[in-house]
């Protein structure tokens, strides 16, 4: 029997059993639909996170006491490490590949109050004027902190959009005073908005000179020191010199910490790339879990196909006997039933792909999530369902092929 005849007769049989065929493939449709929708949404999310990561200031290097990562961290070891110092920062500033350096410390305060209004959980960042360049801040009103503020330990601050929204809905904040831990601080500027990053607002902060910060916040101890201690933001001279700057910083810090060649770094040099890595680690887990769920529904769909194929084989026992009597070989019968199973699951896969893309599109219309569907997701969806059809179709098809023609012909 030719391949074309085989396909034609398989499709013909499915067509004459339309309702049953449709119900049979429903499981497959749902499985593939889930996979495609999830893939499209994850892909869309990846794209938007990538944009956000780039918005952080694409070349900024963060020198800290620990490396970023989603994996295990030995905090007791990290707590024993040397603290970073301002001298470290000034030494880094003298490296040939480095353009700007901003040492910074930060603490969260429970609330900032102004005229009976309050802004909750605001981050207070103490740094130098170059923070504006290392973190890519823009100024909406007034000015950023300057060198004189830093040198004279002035009580001035620059506030983020979140603070403006909560405290200064009607007034111009520049020139007003805020009370920060008992200290009156003059607002000299308003930061441009950066939006949120991975769900955290980047505008929920005020920036003050690092020298002022050290006056009003006590020196952190123990675990606090790991997260609240000095970190150093570094901007290389150009993006081409990013790797070079990292190498120079590493060499410098190892020398300053007196590490011998066989000791690991006791500090962390983090970049956007580290963030990307963390994001990947997180989404990979989510991805695997979701694919697992979808695989279960494909499995259920496959069992549904197998079930119906077994029913179909027993219903058509007499037909199988007749086909064998008029010359169908073992293989002819095997292929016929296998083809029906594969055709069912591929049709299910096509429908599932269509619906999945539709759902992804719908979600991106009604929510901020953006969907993206690369061609490989579609190929994957259809390929998966064909594999399901073959896997779950083999057993019923083989059972049909094994039937003894006489018994099959006698079957009523």
């Amino acid at each position: 029997m030719s391949f074309k005849d085989l396909i034609k007769s398989s499709l013909n049989i499915l067509k004459t059993n339309r309702l049953r065929s449709f119900l049979t493939i429903l499981g497959n449709v749902i499985g593939v639909m889930t996979i495609i929708a999830i893939l499209a949404l994850i892909q869309g999310m990846n794209n938007s996170v990538e944009q956000q990561i780039q918005s952080l200031g694409s070349n900024t290097i963060f020198v800290q006491r620990f490396s970023w990562g989603a994996g295990r961290m030995d905090f007791s070891e990290i707590a024993k490490r040397k603290e970073l110092t301002l001298d470290d920062a000034w030494a880094i500033a003298r490296l040939p590949a480095v353009d700007k350096v901003a040492p910074q410390k930060s603490s969260e305060i429970a609330s900032l109050n102004y005229m009976g209004k309050s802004a909750k959980e605001v981050e207070v960042v103490g740094s130098t004027p170059d923070l504006q360049y290392t973190t890519n801040y823009t100024i909406d009103a007034g000015r950023f902190i300057n060198q004189e503020d830093y040198n004279r330990k002035q009580s001035v601050c620059v506030i983020g959009g979140y603070v403006v929204d909560n405290l200064f809905t009607t007034e111009d904040p520049v020139g007003k005073y805020l009370n920060v831990r008992g200290k009156r601080m003059l607002i000299v500027g308003v930061l441009g908005r950066k939006g949120s990053f991975l769900g955290n607002s980047q505008d929920q902060l005020i920036i003050i000179p690092l020298t002022t910060y050290e006056k009003i916040f006590p020196k952190p101890t123990g675990m606090q020191a790991v997260f609240r201690g000095l970190s150093i933001q570094v901007l290389p001279k150009s993006s081409k010199q990013l790797e070079q700057a990292i190498d120079q910083i590493r060499e410098l810090m190892r020398r300053r910490h007196g590490l011998s060649y066989d000791k690991p770094d006791d500090f962390g040099i983090n970049t956007q790339e580290s963030l990307r890595q963390i994001y990947k680690n997180i989404t990979n887990i989510a991805f695997i879990v979701m694919i697992g769920v979808a695989a279960i529904s494909l499995l259920v769909g496959g069992i549904g196909i197998m079930n119906i194929m077994l029913v179909s084989v027993s219903e058509r026992t007499k037909e199988i006997g007749l086909r064998k009597a008029i010359g169908a070989s073992h293989r002819n019968i095997l292929y016929q039933f296998l083809f029906e199973a594969v055709a069912l699951s591929i049709i299910g896969g096509l429908l599932g792909t269509g619906f999945g893309l539709g759902i992804a599109k719908l979600v991106s219309i009604i929510s901020p999530l953006k969907a993206a569907a690369p061609v490989w997701t579609v190929i994957l969806g259809i390929g998966f369902s064909a594999a399901v059809g073959i896997f779950f179709g083999i057993y019923p098809a083989n059972r049909a092929a094994q039937l003894n023609p006489i018994d099959a012909l006698r079957y009523e």
């Binding site: 029997m1 005849d5 086909r323 064998k324 008029i326 010359g327 073992h330 006489i406 012909l409």
Partner: protein
């Protein structure tokens, strides 16, 4: 010699019992013969037809079809043999209900790998031959019993087989239609086709030129004296 069997036996196991359906049967049939295998139910005539039609293999003994030892063939070779050398007509017609008359008749050609164009041509002419040229696009359930059996005959003849087996071909038909079908077989026999009827009905058996009478798994009479 078209068909030659030597002392073939067939045993079935049903539960703990062994049923001896055939207990040593030797038959010779020449090309072009018109034969009836007769006997009461349980005599082994259906088993005989299944073995001669290559639907089953004997427990012991030899079977030569056109000089080929059938007992040594593989499943694939047997299916090819059934496809090209043998045609079957059944009591219950055994047409596929979901496809048209034409599609039913051309099925053996499909398994033989004949092209669609050639299939259409051959099917058309064979349907004319059995007097159903005007019914070719109908479904089997739109036909009368006699018409359905004619379709089955057309399907059995389409590959130009060496031998056609008819298992109680009139069993599901009224006597008038039964006679028409038997007349068709008579014509086919006159055209030189080898036809083997399997029946318990003496009036049907009488159409044949020679009768092989079976009883209790043995041939009672009718074979040539070897």
């Amino acid at each position: 010699m078209l068909i030659h069997t030597e002392n073939i036996t067939k045993h079935y196991k049903i539960g703990n019992y062994v049923v001896e359906a055939l207990r040593g049967v030797s038959i010779d049939i020449e090309k072009g013969e018109y034969i009836a295998i007769t006997g009461p139910s349980g005599s082994g005539k259906s088993t005989m037809m299944h073995l001669l039609g290559c639907l089953d293999t004997p427990t012991s003994g030899k079977y030569f079809l056109s000089g080929v030892d059938v007992t040594s063939l593989t499943d694939l070779e047997l299916s090819r043999l059934r496809n090209r050398e043998i045609g079957f007509v059944f009591q219950t017609f055994n047409l596929l209900p979901r496809i048209s008359v034409t599609k039913n008749v051309e099925l053996p050609l499909m398994y033989a790998g004949v092209s669609a164009k050639e299939r259409a041509k051959q099917t058309e002419s064979i349907l004319e031959r059995v007097g159903l040229g005007h019914r070719k696009n109908h479904r089997p359930n739109e036909l009368s019993g006699g018409e359905m059996q004619r379709v089955a005959v057309a399907r059995a003849l389409i590959n130009n087989p060496e031998v056609v087996f008819a298992d109680e071909p009139t069993g599901n038909l009224d006597s008038k239609t039964g006679k028409e079908i038997m007349a068709l077989f008579n014509d086919l026999a006159k055209e030189g086709n080898t036809i083997i009827l399997v029946t318990h009905d003496a009036t049907v058996a009488n159409y044949a030129k020679r009768q092989l009478k079976m009883l209790d798994g043995k041939l009672q009479e009718g074979n040539y004296v070897v």
